[in-house]
């Protein structure tokens, strides 16, 4: 952003605990108080969860100002609003009474138009913009939004492999792809491989640089050849060959350890050809140490005995240079060619995905930002906003460090426009808490604002107590000093001083606090790891129990984990806590989680799935599973359920009834939350994709089994991943496994690298996927090192986020491996965060001893470090006062949920048409027309006819009415249509029928009459086909389209009776027998 536009740009670097949401809400309310409409403020948050939180907070604060202005918390808040008000240049905030009034009005107004409050995630916002211009993009984008891109991808890959693969060219490419996987020890079921590639297409990098991805098989083939030729033609190889030739003449005696050197050279010469023929990767001729010595002239001189020292030195160095170049080139070739067959398939995948989308007329949520970026040409930004009917004057962005490049690309148009028009922009974020790089978050955008005069750091920590603030400050001060990457120092530019600490925590109110670190020995080869983890969990649970005894609430404890896999280990340990006084209180509590409990943990859900699986393909494992759970049920019982070919929802319900409902008509209720969540998901699935069992089972395997169940916070111990914990806090925080690596090359991870050797269509270097591995460095890919540097920042940030969640007490546990290696500096790179902390607290030396002793399961070998006092008298009054939401359900009475399922005797009526015409419809295949429904239809058509001036007009009306019925799909086919038309035209055109359809006067067509039955006196309803009224005269007509029957006359007689009862003096009755084309007189 340009400097002059920054006058009303406010950037807040908000460290953890500094009250970010509070500040945003205060900013928002300051704008409202100035008279800005909430419709003109756009507040963008990072997640849906944050959006909900933000909206609720704004309402809560408004409510507090409106109705609880006298409370001190409200006063505090108003002071913050007042500061911002002044900062925005609005002068002095109006007095509390006026604020109170305004807040009351605003509260009501916002509530009645709640969805107009533009607090939203950036994705949703873009989505709204895009929805407004679907048509404008000329059908390039679909009409509805598909959120689940995985589902689309799975479908597309399925299509590609079955239907599309019959195309010979594609088949060849798939085969090539399979063959490359054959060479590696990989599974040849390429389905998941293709799914993985397809998923990558939706990373931002590849969407943004789509044109740099070369997929043309011819060009890739050429490139592959070219790469090798490049290698062979190198002048350098000739030179190397010559030099090696020459080196053969060296005498062993010329070197002090000559045999080694000479044999290395010999060896190298022999393998050189293999390398050049691409059979294997070249090795360096010398060991690392040797190379070092060759490089340094003095060292070389000391072990070279020959006379031509200068020459030999030069020659050896040249050989080393050339060999390294060759190796680099060879590695590069190897790395670059690994995934070429993936690339060829990319185009096919894209097409297949687009096909699927087109069929469903939808577009992917994942593509929103990119589509928008392409549409947003200069001058279009304001148009698109206008089109969406919105005009923002103020914008606020939360978690700015997690904004992606594309998102910002789109968003800055808006920001610039707003600033240009005199509006304001508030950006809040903290690069230290940037942990979403994997979701395209790019903290460099925020860091790029560094030096902008509008930046103001928010550092005071309203969350943590002094010891915790101090520990974190010192720890990160130490860690940053040890890091090489200067960016880390920039990000964590705080440093530790006593003065700073005083500045950072809330003096007086937030004294005390406690930090406890536990390190457990384990060896480099993984020995002792299991014991360490078991010890960690039992120590952690013991501590929790101790705190519970001291009166801490279970709800004040939070366990943070690095990844989902750790949850089961923790739950297992929790469920198997031994009977001991050490865990007595803990055993009364529960662990809840919002993002960790997967559906597949639940027995009830598994029973349903296994039953479905058994019904689907007689799965014997499923059968055994069911037999284990319910030995009283036989497979035949299950088979019987599906005899009716039930829709999926009903089938599941039937399974629940058979397997889960007990004699009391309920399930046992223990895993109610899982069961309910499963049914919600099932419902959503069926709603989106229909009632298809095999694809649902596939969906279960691919995705659903790992989807997590929601939970509501009560007074339970919470557990969650660090990523989900952002913005949250807890009085007592536990990090049981602080052992994530700072850098890591995960198997199967790829980096997309710029490859100048291959120009893309647009002239830029192509982007190629390269397996992420160490040799990339030697092969000259700078991306590797960059990535590793970024990983260090990610993982450091993750530690920062984790440690700063704690308010009162912080417990960290880690197993620590041996660090015996000599080369300490190099080794430090492989440290995990626990080791870094151990290093900081100087716990490594004592741990080393324990590792040497190999007594891994001895608790005495654990090293503990503490700061502050665990028991610090925290008076309730010292606890932070917060403004509470008026509509929170925290104090609600609890009811236990039960699951029932029955066969209900529900009734409903069929829509008139279906009942009347289903028989007709059914006849379609039998080619016979049922008289009754045929008649019903004729009746219905005639009922639409009023009176006409002439018979011709009446005939025309009949034709139109029949055509309408036909077009509505009510008449099965053309033949029937003709038949009906003929008979009805005959009806209205018959000479004696004319008076019924033409002329003036009153006519009732199937008008209802309430008729008190002469005997029962119960009112009954009668509908007469056609009645003509003329003063005191009434005539009734009944049509019949079947054979003549006696009862018909009775019916007409009753009608005539009714008409007379109604007071008509002259009543006549007629019966039209359509088949015979005759009108019968009915006599009373």
């Amino acid at each position: 952003m340009t400097a002059n536009s920054s006058s009303r740009l406010y950037v807040r670097k908000a460290s953890a605990g500094s009250g970010k949401t509070y500040t945003l809400a205060a900013h928002y309310i300051a704008l409202l108080m100035h008279g800005v409409s909430y419709r003109q403020i756009l507040a963008v948050t990072f997640t849906n969860k944050a959006t909900a939180e933000m909206k609720e907070r704004i309402l809560t604060y408004l409510h507090a100002i409106a109705r609880e202005v006298e409370k001190s918390e409200t006063q505090d808040f108003l002071r913050r609003v007042s500061d911002i008000y002044a900062e925005l240049g609005y002068g002095k905030l109006p007095n509390p009474q006026i604020c109170q009034q305004k807040a009351e009005e605003l509260y009501k107004d916002i509530l009645s138009n709640y969805d107009r409050m533009a607090v939203t995630t950036i994705d949703t916002f873009f989505q709204q913009l895009l929805a407004g211009m679907v048509l404008t993009l000329d059908g390039a984008v679909g009409y509805s939004v598909e959120i689940d891109s995985d589902m689309v991808i799975t479908n597309a890959v399925g299509q590609l492999l079955t239907n599309d693969a019959q195309d010979p060219t594609l088949c060849r490419h798939i085969t090539d792809y399979m063959k490359t996987r054959m060479a590696d020890d990989k599974n040849w079921n390429i389905r998941s491989g293709l799914i993985a590639i397809a998923k990558e297409l939706y990373t931002e990098l590849l969407q943004e640089k789509k044109e740099q991805v070369v997929t043309d098989p011819m060009r890739l083939e050429q490139f592959k050849k070219g790469l090798h030729q490049l290698l062979q033609k190198q002048k350098e190889t000739d030179e190397l060959r010559a030099l090696l030739q020459k080196a053969q003449q060296w005498d062993e005696k010329s070197f002090s350890r000559g045999k080694d050197i000479i044999s290395h050279l010999d060896n190298y010469r022999r393998t050189l050809d293999n390398t050049l023929e691409k059979k294997e990767i070249a090795f360096n001729p010398f060991t690392e140490n040797q190379t070092k010595n060759i490089r340094i002239e003095e060292n070389f001189q000391s072990f070279y005995k020959g006379s031509d020292r200068q020459q030999a030195y030069a020659m050896m160095n040249r050989i080393v240079d050339l060999a390294q170049n060759l190796r680099a080139a060879r590695l590069r070739e190897e790395l670059l060619t690994q995934h070429l067959s993936d690339l060829v398939l990319i185009q096919y995948l894209r097409d297949a995905i687009n096909n699927v989308l087109q069929e469903n007329n939808s577009r992917l949520l994942a593509e929103t930002a990119c589509t928008l970026a392409q549409a947003l040409r200069p001058g279009d930004a304001d148009f698109i906003l206008e089109k969406a009917g919105i005009r923002y004057q103020h914008v606020m962005i939360d978690e700015f460090q997690d904004t992606s490049t594309l998102q910002w690309e789109n968003f800055r148009h808006l920001v610039e426009e707003i600033l240009g028009n005199g509006g304001s922009t508030l950006i809040v974020g903290d690069v230290k808490q940037s942990i979403y790089r994997w979701r395209n978050g790019n903290w460099e955008i925020m860091q790029g604002l560094q030096g902008n005069p509008s930046i103001k750091p928010l550092v005071r920590n309203f969350r943590s107590r002094k010891e915790i603030v101090g520990f974190n400050l010192r720890l990160f001060d130490y860690l940053c000093k040890k890091e090489e990457d200067p960016r880390i120092k920039d990000i964590y530019n705080e440093g530790f001083t006593e003065k700073r600490l005083e500045e950072y925590y809330v003096n007086g109110k937030h004294d005390g606090g406690y930090v406890q670190l536990h390190f457990y020995p384990s060896a480099y080869n993984g020995e002792g790891k299991h014991q360490a983890r078991a010890l960690i969990l039992s120590d952690m649970f013991r501590t929790m129990n101790r705190l519970l005894k001291q009166g801490e609430k279970a709800g004040s404890m939070l366990i943070l984990i690095r990844n989902h896999k750790e949850i089961e280990e923790i739950l297992d340990a929790f469920e198997h806590l031994p009977e001991s006084a050490d865990f007595h209180e803990l055993k009364q509590t529960h662990i809840v989680s919002n993002d960790c409990f997967c559906l597949e943990y639940s027995q009830s859900v598994n029973i349903i799935i296994q039953a479905l699986r058994y019904l689907h393909n007689d799965d014997a494992i499923a059968q055994e599973y069911l037999l284990q759970r319910r030995p009283d049920k036989t497979p035949e019982d299950l088979k019987r359920l599906n005899e009716k070919d039930l829709p999926l929802n009903d089938l599941v319900e039937a399974i629940i009834q058979q397997y889960l409902i007990g004699e009391n008509g309920e399930t046992d209720g223990k895993d109610m939350a899982y069961l309910c969540s499963f049914k919600d998901s099932l419902k959503r699935y069926v709603g989106l994709h229909g009632s298809d069992l095999p694809s649902f089972l596939q969906y279960w395997d691919d995705k659903l089994r790992q989807s997590t169940i929601p939970s509501v916070e009560g007074n339970d111990i919470r557990i969650m991943t660090i990523h989900a914990s952002k913005g949250l806090e807890s009085d007592n925080l536990f990090i049981p496994f602080a052992d994530w690596k700072m850098e890591e090359d995960k198997q199967n991870s790829k980096l997309w690298c710029e490859v100048p050797e291959l120009p893309a269509e647009n002239g830029q270097s192509a982007l190629l996927p390269v397996s992420k591995q160490k040799s990339m460095q030697e092969a000259g890919f700078t991306e590797y090192e960059q990535e590793h540097k970024m990983e260090r920042i990610d993982n450091l940030n993750l530690l920062y986020v984790a440690l700063t969640r704690a308010a009162d007490r912080l417990y960290v546990y880690s197993d620590v491996e041996s660090t015996k290696d000599k080369d300490k500096d190099k080794d430090r790179k492989t440290y995990h965060v626990g080791q870094l902390m151990a290093e900081y607290t100087e716990a490594i030396e004592p741990l080393q001893k324990a590792i040497d002793s190999k007594e891994f399961n001895n608790p005495a070998n654990c090293v503990e470090r503490t700061y502050g006092q665990e028991i610090y008298p925290i008076a309730p009054s010292e606890k932070k006062e917060k403004i509470s939401a008026p509509f929170r359900f925290t104090k609600a009475e609890t009811l236990e949920a039960h699951y029932h399922s029955g066969t209900s005797h529900i009734t409903f009526r069929q829509s008139g048409d279906a009942r009347k015409y289903t028989e007709t419809v059914a006849e379609n295949s039998r080619q016979v027309m049922d008289r009754q429904s045929f008649g019903t239809m004729c009746h219905d058509i005639l009922a639409t006819l009023g009176l006409f001036a002439t018979t011709e007009k009446a005939i025309e009306a009949v034709r139109i009415a029949v055509a309408d019925f036909y077009q509505q799909g009510k008449i099965p086919n053309e033949a029937v249509r003709k038949e009906i038309e003929t008979i009805l035209v005959r009806t209205v055109s018959a000479e004696e029928m004319r008076p019924w359809f033409t002329g003036d006067g009153e006519v009732w067509c199937e008008q209802a009459v309430l008729y008190p039955h002469p005997k029962s006196h119960q009112p009954e309803e009668r509908r007469m086909d056609r009645v003509r009224i003329n003063g005191t005269k009434a005539a009734v007509l009944d049509y019949k389209f079947g054979e003549e029957e006696k009862s018909y006359y009775q019916q007409v007689k009753e009608y005539m009776y009714i008409l007379r009862q109604m007071g008509y003096e002259h009543v006549e009755g007629k019966l039209w027998i359509a088949n015979e084309n005759k009108l019968q007189e009915v006599n009373a």
């Binding site: 509530l111 009811l895 029955g902 409903f908 008008q1007 006196h1017």
Partner: protein, 893 residues
């Protein structure tokens, strides 16, 4: 008992017009069902007053039917209208859109056109308004808005920009509209808006012969402009009276739905409010986690509140909840009379699934779309033709008849359209287009359920509650985004213009919703609302704004009780229990059974004692074992071919390098034929094992890429054989059974290595080559480390061969493993870093350890699972993970 609104209306009508006057009244409602209640109220009065003569019921219409009655136009079928619009659109623009891509927003455009007519809007003016900014200034539009619109639609778009594109289209809109309207009217059709508008604008000419009639407009809330005008016209003729259901003392917030007060000034309320004390209902709010729990809560709620004879409503705000609620209903006499009045999504029915499935089968693609559609209709009729309705209809049967009927009529509509209109048919050339049209036509259909409205429990949608009163009300999913529903501003007409011209926007939608919602509260005695506030994958849910309003309106907040429904989340995992009666350990064990035992005793128990087999997975790609079967089969066929022997064991025929080369060169289709023969055998064997199965997984045509890979692997084996040749084949896929061991040996052959002859025991492994798997430190490790199973297996084969006398020439037995995927992996196995070239070298140790193991197995009673960490670390995917209650390993490649 308090009278319901419709009873009040009935009473007043009778008081005013008398029984005989009814026939001169036309009652106009916002919805159809209200008529039933008027009828019921009249019947009650009839009984009370002992009326003995028949009475002609008043005419009862919805406002749309009222317009239809007097208009010369009639509504057009949706699909026809969209096709008509598409033709106009295509003629006026340079679009590249297909009809099926157009369909979705064609519907939108139709809605926009209809809405413009409903707003009595001059479409020409719509455009002029904004292209000439001056006009807007004069029309009293806010300057700010005018400027905004000018920016939006004014002439300043650059070429090629989105703006330009939109503006061009916008300018064409009146033309498209005119063309569409003209074309529609020529055939006597109109949109809903156009029909109402026609009556409003030609009121005097169209609305005739109504002398002496009175039009009673009952229970309306928000009025569209044309509806308002229509009422105004009737009022001008002094032939209209109005009944509003509005209680000014019911004070949530006048902002929510105060619009009715404005209407009441224009159309005075004929309803005489009964003198009620300001009674307020008992209100409960229940927070839940899931939707399902809310459905389940219906059960308890009904038991608590519903008594026989009460009018009780379970209001379903999220239509997909219907089924869950129905299943959760309690049994018992007083709950038997439950009625559904709610749309049910066709998409969730079996017939919908069947239609979509039919459409995606390539064999159902027919170039002539009418034939295709006809076939579809026939197929569906055959499959889903309703059974003769039984005496006791259950609601599933009725539902399927309804679903069937809806589907069939929709399909027929499309078919008649294609037959009628040559131009439409020409648009639908490709099967894909037809497929999408069918889908678009069916996917949003709601099957209308009409409950018997007079009886006890109503399971009902919010809209369907209009005009009705209930004693007990349970409102489900009172969540923001559902109550009120997420309005959207999807419209081609800019928001500001819609505002200026009083077209309905989402603000009004939520006001209408609010009116309906609070009306239920006002007229109820017990009202309970449930909502979910859990974090889910789709974001956080939160309570409806209406609940927030109630909770923070002091006069209500006091009488609200709040509850939270707790759903327990215990995993209740159970350990696997071995069956009490232990089935027999088989007399003879295969090498893989022995390996499985070493890997995990429980796996051995399940696989080899209980004989539980993993089912064949249907997949887009072959599973590894299928691959293996075919590779083995093909190799067998190849050698049968080379040796010209058709028996299973082409014994003792020496094959030279040239033999193989000749096979590869001379018979270009040799490999393919061998593969086909292998397919045939695999299929036969599959059928004999799965007599019930209709299909086999072995369909060559569907797996072309795999076939290529299989042949590639076979070729690699042949090439390696050429390098080894000459070789003498003793047996292929040779079955050996001896002393409690049995197995099938892939190949037995005699080869020469460094001048010495060996009897080679060869096993193919279609997995990836890995030297680690072929080398072990010692014989004893084979019996403890499951990852060395390949070595153990081949040594077991060696033992069987040597025991069963197959080694007639007494050659050294050399075990080897060939990996068809690898070109040059060393096939030897290594013990203590030395290749095993003669089984005799390790025979003693191996066999004595084997004997110990077999003894152990035979004595076993309890089969324990492998320790957890070992099981998790194992790279292989275990099909039995679920039975052990262990997590499925994340199977990454």
């Amino acid at each position: 008992m308090n009278k319901t609104f419709l009873q009040q209306v009935t009473d007043q009508l009778l008081d005013q017009f008398g029984w005989n006057g009814l026939k001169n009244i036309t009652i106009v409602f916002p919805m159809h069902r209200a008529g039933l209640f008027i009828k019921q109220a009249l019947e009650q009065r009839m009984m009370q007053e002992s009326i003995s003569y028949p009475v002609l019921l008043p005419e009862m219409l919805t406002i749309d039917e009222l317009a239809d009655k007097y208009s010369t136009l009639r509504p057009e079928e949706e699909i026809r209208a969209v096709c008509r619009l598409y033709t106009c659109y295509r003629d006026k623009t340079t679009t590249r859109l297909d009809i099926d891509s157009f369909y979705g927003w064609g519907l939108q455009l139709l809605k926009d056109f209809s809405a413009a007519d409903m707003a009595l809007l001059d479409s020409e003016k719509l455009i002029r308004h904004v292209s000439e900014a001056g006009e807007l200034d004069n029309s009293g539009v806010d300057k700010d808005v005018a400027e905004r619109l000018n920016k939006l639609l004014g002439n300043n778009g650059e070429n090629g920009s989105v703006r330009k594109y939109y503006q061009d289209l916008w300018k064409q809109l009146p033309e498209i509209y005119t063309a569409f309207r003209t074309s529609q009217q020529a055939e006597g059709f109109g949109t809903r808006g156009a029909i109402t508008r026609q009556v409003v604008e030609n009121f005097d000419a169209l609305v005739k012969n109504i002398e002496g009639k009175t039009f009673a407009f009952v229970g309306f809330n928000y009025l569209l402009k044309a509806e308002y005008a229509l009422m105004e016209r009737f009022l001008q003729r002094e032939q209209a009276i109005f009944f509003w259901d509005y209680d000014p003392t019911f004070d949530v917030d006048e902002k929510v739905y105060g619009f009715i007060q404005t209407y009441m000034q224009k159309f005075p309320n004929a309803l005489i409010q009964p003198n009620e004390t300001n009674k307020k209902p008992e209100l409960n709010i229940v927070a839940c986690q899931s939707s399902e729990a809310q459905a389940q809560y219906v059960h308890e709620w009904l038991q608590k509140y519903h008594k026989a004879g009460d009018k009780t409503a379970v209001v379903i705000t999220d239509e997909s909840m219907l089924e869950q609620v129905v299943y959760a209903l309690p049994d018992g006499e007083q709950f038997q009379k439950a009625n559904i009045t709610k749309g049910y999504p066709l998409k969730e029915t079996r017939i919908y699934a069947a239609v979509t499935e039919w459409l995606t089968q390539p064999e159902n693609e027919n170039p002539d779309c009418i034939i295709q559609l006809g076939n579809l209709i026939e197929t569906m009729a055959e499959r889903f033709m309703p059974q003769q309705c039984t005496e006791e209809e259950n609601w599933h049967d009725i539902l399927s008849i309804e679903a069937y009927y809806q589907t069939m009529t929709r399909l027929r509509k499309l078919k008649t359209l294609l037959e009628d209109k040559e131009n439409v048919r020409s648009l639908v050339q490709k099967p894909k287009t037809l497929r999408n049209l069918v889908k678009r036509n069916l996917e949003s259909v709601l099957i209308p359920f009409h409950g018997e409205p007079i009886t006890d429990i109503q399971i009902i949608g919010v809209l369907e509650t209009r005009l009705l009163d209930f004693d007990n009300v349970l409102i489900l999913n009172a969540e923001e985004g559902i109550v009120p529903g997420t309005g959207h501003d999807n419209s081609f007409i800019p928001y500001d213009i819609r505002r200026i011209h009083q077209m309905q926007t989402r603000e009004e939608e939520s006001k209408i919703y609010a009116y309906n919602f609070f009306r239920l509260l006002r007229r109820g005695k017990h009202v309970t609302m449930t909502f979910s506030d859990a974090f889910t994958k789709d974001g956080k849910k939160s309570m409806s704004r209406f609940l927030m309003q109630l909770l923070t309106t002091p006069s209500y907040a006091k009488q609200i009780s709040t509850y939270r429904l707790m759903e327990r989340a215990e995993r209740n995992a159970a350990e696997y229990q071995q069956r009490e009666s232990l089935a027999e350990i088989p007399v003879s064990l295969s090498p893989s059974a022995i390996c499985d035992y070493i890997e995990c005793e429980r796996e051995f128990y399940l696989k080899h004692i209980l004989k539980i087999q993993e089912p064949e997975q249907e997949s887009d790609m072959y599973q590894p074992n299928t691959f293996g079967t075919l590779v083995h089969g093909t190799l067998e066929q190849v050698y049968r071919n080379i040796t010209k022997k058709q028996e299973h064991t082409p014994a003792h025929i020496t094959i030279t390098k040239e033999d193989i080369q000749t096979f590869l060169d001379d018979t270009p289709n040799g490999l393919k034929n061998a593969l086909n023969a292998a397919y045939k055998e695999a299929e036969e064997s599959y059928r004999s094992h799965h007599p019930k199965c209709q299909t086999t997984p072995y369909i060559s045509e569907k797996h072309e890429p795999e076939n290529v890979v299989i042949l590639e692997m076979v070729t690699r084996v042949l090439q390696r054989d050429m390098a080894t040749a000459p070789l003498t084949i003793i047996g292929m896929e040779k079955w050996v059974e001896k002393d409690g061991l049995h197995g099938r040996i892939d190949r037995l052959d005699i080869i020469t290595e460094q001048g010495r002859n060996y009897l080679r025991i060869l096993d193919y492994k279609t997995g990836g080559y890995n030297k680690e798997k072929l080398s072990a430190d010692s014989i004893s490790t084979l019996f403890t480390k499951p990852e060395k199973r390949f070595i153990l297996q081949t040594l077991l084969y060696c033992k069987m061969v040597s025991d069963s006398g197959l080694n007639t020439e007494e050659l050294p037995l050399m075990p080897q493993l060939l990996f068809p995927r690898s070109i040059d992996g060393d096939p030897h196995i290594f013990i203590d870093k030395r290749p095993v070239t003669d089984y005799a070298d390790c025979q003693d140790e191996f066999e004595s350890r084997l004997a110990d193991l077999l003894k152990e197995i035979r004595a076993k009673k309890e089969f324990a699972p492998a320790p957890k960490d070992k099981c998790e670390n194992s790279k292989c995917y275990c099909p039995f993970h679920l039975l052990c209650g262990r997590k499925k390993a994340d199977f990454t490649f």
